[in-house]
């Protein structure tokens, strides 16, 4: 289907199904129940899953395929979101031009940064991208304040021209972002028994774009171009003596991943029209690296899983407070309860970053292939047992690896 092989088609269809039905899947607990805090099926969070999914998918095209570790990708997301807000200030609140311009501007910026940074490889490349991102961050905070809004961030205002729209609604407020009239904030709610499901217009716009981005990534992975990118990672010397020029390949991957970041930035401001410099800070770049690694760099589905996992954990873990911990461990004797709560307390709520850092280390140490590799290991564990039984009864089949 769509020019994909059978395996990729089923993977794509699974992702489509998960995305479409996410409002159900992510809301497994009835409203008001103790476990409702683990629900993730509300628009704001679901949008973030998809937006960071796009960001990580794009980052993976660069890092997963070519092995070039960029530590400055958040800059492209930041630039994209500034461009998006400007479109809304100048042109219209329709998100289409905002998103398009975000992608183009981020693409151009990444072309510039990539063209310079890719003259070096390895750690030098990482430092160069980091330097560019930090420069962008510092400039956005200081000199470029007229364009970026400085510390307060870039916001819409009632005095914006909005040539193809209105500066203010008849009620005197700032108009809302929309897709040809469909407001991103619009939601339909469905109450079934104790459950409440929300279907948000903005979420489904993100979903369509994320699925498109995912599809494009699959095509790239399976194309001769993707093969060349893997060759860049594997052996650049051989590549050159094979008559291939690694530079333009790597630069193309860099720009594509920069455009993905721009798309993520554009979508971010389409959902919530506000852009701030902190989105470009290097820890934000570190976060997308973490998502990709955690999910599984170089795999198709890994970055999506990683982004979802981290955004979910961030949201849930940082909401847990001491009171919640006490209700959880309330069944324990008092002294023990206090002790257990004290042990867990540093890791939840404001301590989310501590949990994140520990997860980061554990993954890099024990599971360099991320969640996908973990899943494969578990799957192999289950598959091996029946396979052995089979071997015994039929006699050893030839063990040539027929993957």
């Amino acid at each position: 289907m769509l020019g994909l092989n059978k395996k990729d088609t089923s993977l794509f269809l699974i992702v489509v199904a998960l995305t479409v039905f996410a409002p159900f899947i992510l809301n497994p607990f009835p409203v008001g129940s103790d476990l409702a805090q683990f629900n993730a099926g509300y628009p704001d969070l679901m949008q973030r899953f998809l937006i960071f999914g796009i960001f990580a998918i794009g980052f993976n095209i660069l890092f997963g395929l070519t092995g070039y570790l960029s530590f400055g990708h958040a800059a492209f997301l930041g630039v994209g979101s500034y461009a998006g807000v400007w479109m809304m200030k100048l042109l219209t609140m329709n998100v289409v031009p905002a998103i398009l311009v975000s992608v183009v501007v981020a693409g151009l910026f990444s072309l510039l940064v990539g063209w310079i940074s890719l003259r070096r490889s390895g750690i030098y490349f990482s430092i160069l991208t980091l330097a560019f991102a930090q420069m962008s961050f510092a400039l956005a905070y200081s000199v470029l304040t007229p364009i970026t809004g400085g510390e307060t961030g870039l916001q819409l205002s009632l005095s914006d021209p909005r040539v193809f729209g209105v500066s203010a609604t008849p009620q005197g407020s700032i108009p809302l972002t929309n897709f040809f009239g469909l407001e991103m904030r619009d939601s339909a709610e469905l109450a079934l028994g104790g459950w409440l499901f929300t279907f948000n217009a903005g979420y489904y716009l993100c979903a369509v774009l994320m699925l498109a981005a995912f599809y494009v990534a699959i095509r790239i992975f399976r194309s001769p171009f993707g093969m060349m990118l893997k060759a860049v990672k594997s052996n650049q010397q051989r590549m050159q003596y094979t008559g291939l020029n690694p530079k333009p390949y790597t630069l193309a991957a860099f720009v594509i991943s920069g455009m993905y970041a721009g798309l993520a930035g554009g979508l971010m401001v389409s959902m919530d029209p506000l852009a701030g410099a902190e989105r470009m800070f290097w820890t934000a770049s570190g976060e997308v690296v973490l998502m990709t690694i955690l999910g599984g760099a170089g795999t198709l589905i890994g970055p999506v899983l990683g982004a979802g996992f981290i955004k979910y954990m961030e949201n849930i873990v940082s909401k847990i407070n001491e009171g919640i911990l006490h209700t959880w461990f309330g069944f324990l004797p008092d002294g023990l309860e206090d002790f257990v709560v004290a042990v867990f307390y540093p890791f939840v709520g404001k301590g989310w970053h501590l949990t994140l850092g520990i997860m980061f280390m554990l993954v890099v140490i024990f599971l360099p292939g991320g969640i996908v590799e973990g899943g494969q290991r578990i799957a192999r564990l289950f598959r091996r047992r029946p396979a052995r039984a089979h071997e015994r009864s039929v006699g050893a089949p030839s063990s040539s690896a027929a993957e």
């Binding site: 092995g67 570790l69 530590f71 310079i116 003259r119 070096r120 390895g122 750690i123 030098y124 990482s126 430092i127 160069l128 980091l130 330097a131 560019f132 930090q134 420069m135 510092a138 400039l139 905070y141 200081s142 000199v143 470029l144 290097w282 820890t283 570190g286 690296v289 973490l290 690694i293 540093p346 301590g351 970053h353 501590l354 994140l356 850092g357 520990i358 997860m359 980061f360 280390m361 890099v364 140490i365 360099p368």
Partner: protein, 342 residues
């Protein structure tokens, strides 16, 4: 002229910190071949050693001061640090005031322990892994360390003053024939610079004049050959890691009065120190020190109003800009050797 000298002096203290951190980074990279993103956290830990010691020394209990009375005529209750009780108010008071310099003694064993624990417990498993993995795992460790500090010390900067005797400024201008007050330089910053210079000299002397240092330098140049000589190079490299940790830690201890320590100061310095290492030349100790001071001074010049009026915002980006230019024109950095990380 006096303005230029003032900027040079202003750049020296920050440059000293860059140089010390970059020196440790280079030592670790040159010996162990590891890109340590947690090195900034060691600097931060050092600063918090100073904070911890000043808090420990200030632990006090309530005593009655018979010489003074409260409004009811009872002896006034005051908080007296134990230290003052043990050593008498005179010496004890001085000890409390001098907590930052004393922090050096306090920090050395702690930093050695942290360094050894880090190397033996984590880093050594990453010698053979790709640089990307090393960056990522130490990045994770840096997050963990700073979050732990944030948990115990809070998110706000903690003012940690220098000893009162060393607060105040030197009228440097008068000493070299300018108008009084033209070049005012705080004593502590001068001390920091001198301290950093001594520390750097000590590290270089150690590497240059001891057998241990000679082996380490040989190992930096060609690890395998040294290994073939039957020398246990790994053990020495572990010790070098601890030394690098101590250097970063002491840089942090002494920096506490200049900038009140906060949990993310390590990360702030780390990014810049990496840039410094790259500018100096990966694996070149002299380059790291030189680039540290150069960039510190350069940053200070770039923040002069005369400069920022012409090129606004240049002070924010000058270091990165220089790094980009150097990397593109001299890929091996200022003093980099051939064959390191290419």
């Amino acid at each position: 002229m006096d303005a230029i000298i003032l900027q040079v002096l202003n750049g020296l203290d920050k440059g000293s910190a860059y140089a010390l951190i970059a020196l440790g980074l280079t030592l670790i990279f040159g010996t162990l071949g590891v890109v340590n993103f947690a090195h900034g956290a060691l600097f931060m830990l050092g600063a918090f050693c100073a904070v911890t010691l000043s808090r420990l020394l200030a632990i006090s209990h309530e005593t009655a001061d018979p010489t003074r009375t409260d409004f009811l005529g009872n002896p006034l209750k005051v908080q007296t640090p134990y230290v003052e009780e043990w050593f008498g108010p005179e010496i004890g008071g001085t000890i409390v005031e001098w907590s930052v310099p004393l922090g050096i003694l306090f920090a050395i064993p702690i930093m050695i322990a942290v360094g050894l624990a880090m190397e033996r417990g984590l880093i050594r498993y990453f010698y053979k892994r790709p640089h990307a993995d090393q960056i990522l795992v130490t990045f994770g460790l840096a997050i963990v360390l700073q979050e732990v500090i944030k948990y115990f010390f809070g998110a706000n900067p903690i003012p940690t003053p220098a000893p009162p005797a060393l607060v105040g400024s030197l009228d440097f201008g008068v000493m070299i024939g300018f108008d009084p007050g033209s070049i005012i330089y705080p004593y502590w910053r001068l001390i920091y610079f001198v301290f950093a210079a001594i520390l750097i000299a000590a590290v270089f002397a150690f590497l240059q004049f001891t057998t241990f240092g000679m082996v380490v330098r040989a190992g930096m140049a060609d690890r395998e050959t040294v290994g073939l000589l039957g020398i246990d190079i790994d053990k020495r490299f572990t010790i070098m890691f601890a030394i690098a940790a101590v250097v970063a830690g002491l840089a942090g201890v002494m920096y506490a009065p200049i900038n009140s320590p906060n949990y993310h100061m390590g990360m702030d310095f780390l990014v810049l120190s990496f840039v410094v290492v790259v500018v100096g030349g990966m694996g070149s100790l002299g380059g790291a020190v030189l680039a540290g001071f150069l960039l510190g001074v350069l940053e200070s010049f770039a923040s002069m109003p005369q400069v920022t009026n012409v090129v606004p915002g240049i002070n924010q980006i000058v270091i990165y800009l220089v790094a980009i230019i150097i990397l593109l024109t001299r890929p091996r950095g200022l003093l980099g050797r051939k064959g390191v990380m290419e």
